[in-house]
């Protein structure tokens, strides 16, 4: 793992907003330097640096397959969660992962099959999901150690409320970093304090296997 890689992080600003009466809050605002706008679907995970911890509650969720794409492209679950991979297309898919955090494959299946089949994600990390038939299909499951984890919205914002005062490690990941890197920073939240952590990331443009047809390739895609 590449931690705190300077190639990802070009600017970091922490601003303190002191608003009496607010509970302890942290807003993480991530900007994409390339697009000069908020970075959606980045994962922000807070890990308390104190000895106390917050109980992690596993969940059950799904990553659907619609129009030969995974929906959603990035799914965040706490460690121990279970995920199903239903197929809402009228064609067959074959879901697999080689990632160290979770290796599995669900052989060829069609609509309404395997809706009750769940894979368990007991090890934290980034799991890259693909389809063995449709090479361009790609999705990520971020398996978090902490219960304090969120995805940024379309404006690049992730909010954490009712935090316990103390020191936290803030871990940031985006699919354009691949599965081998993330950015970490430390932050302290005081009692009745709201903070904004602004981060600008310098990421390579997304590069995916091309989906569009060509006249020179074999016809089935």
């Amino acid at each position: 793992m590449i931690k705190n890689s300077p190639s990802y992080l070009i600017a970091l600003a922490v601003s303190l907003i002191s608003v009496p009466g607010y509970s302890e809050e942290l807003r993480v605002s991530i900007t994409d330097l390339l697009a000069e706008s908020g970075l959606a679907d980045a994962v922000v995970e807070l890990q308390p640096k104190e000895t106390w911890s917050i109980a992690v509650s596993p969940v059950e969720t799904s990553v659907d397959q619609v129009d030969k794409e995974f929906v959603s492209g990035v799914t965040v679950v706490p460690r121990g969660s279970r995920v199903s991979f239903p197929n809402s297309d009228d064609i067959l898919h074959h879901v697999y992962s080689f990632s160290p955090a979770k290796t599995f494959d669900i052989p060829l299946y069609g609509s309404d099959e395997n809706r009750e089949h769940y894979e368990s994600f007991s090890k934290s990390g980034i799991v890259e999901i693909g389809c063995n038939i449709h090479d361009w299909m790609l999705a990520y499951i971020y398996v978090a150690d902490s219960a304090l984890v969120a995805k940024t919205d379309k404006h690049g914002i992730a909010d954490f409320r009712s935090l316990k005062p103390g020191a936290y490690s803030v871990k940031i990941w985006h699919s354009r970093m691949g599965t081998a890197g993330f950015v970490t920073r430390d932050i302290a939240i005081g009692a009745d304090e709201a903070k904004v952590l602004s981060v600008t990331l310098d990421l390579e443009p997304e590069r995916r296997i091309r989906r569009a047809p060509t006249s020179t390739r074999n016809r089935y895609r």
């Binding site: 080689f98 091309r210 569009a212 060509t214 006249s215 020179t216 895609r221």
Partner: protein, 301 residues
Amino acid sequence: MLNRIVVYTFSVVSFLGATVVHGNGFMDLLVASGYEENLPRGYLDKDIQGSRFLGASLSAGKLYQPLANTSIVLSGSAGYSSYLEQHGFDYGSLEIATSLQQKFGMGAYTPRITLGVGAGREESEGLQRDRNLFRYSLGISQRLNQALEISAGFSREISRGTDEPAIDFSELPYLPGITRPVDPMDYRNRTLSGSLSYTLRNGWLWSAGYRYLHGHIVSSAVPPVKELFIHAKAVALDPAYDQERLMYLMNADADMWSTSLSIPWGDDTALDFAYQWQNFDVDDVGSYKNSQFSITLVHQI
């Protein structure tokens, strides 16, 4: 014999496909336009004629996956090409094909081998160019990363003319005593090829390839061309030129280079710009060239 092989192949594969596994269907539409510099494969300057062309084809099929890393594609296609300045070369085609692909592991970055077999029929404006086609191929490909993919392959094409010639060339006066088979569309050739494709960050796909051909080609010329006639494997009146030319079946080696740029338009459509350059070395005769530029719209329905 060929017909029987094709029938047996498709019977077995169709049975497997229909009974053992479900399939993923697909349908592609191609519309192409372009220019070919030396359409009749003319050897002498006076025989070289270019033409613009328009073409369209529709192909459909199904992919079956009987095993995790094994897939079978059954497909059929129909097409028509028209040459605006050389209507004698217009032709319609029908083809059925099957391919077996084996991946050496799961995922997008594993090597894969593809064995393909196809049979088709081409009906030309001139009957003498009508033919049945049988092709088989073996290819290997490997995606190295999200952008770069390389491939290599071998293929063989067997053509069988289907119409009797109008003239017996043993009666031609200028080379008395020399006779030739009279169906130049009876031919075979083999190709070896290699290609690479690279996807740019904006999704544009650049491809380049080389193909080496060894076997027969058909060249058309205004008669008489003695050196062509002497070395020809077969000769017939070329119906594409309404009695003006002969077409000769020649032994040749060819170098064929190609490059293309494919610009996506959404997930299911792309506009391809392609250029091909070909150099034919005809045994005991000499060499000649051809080039082709085309723009193709491909859409997955």
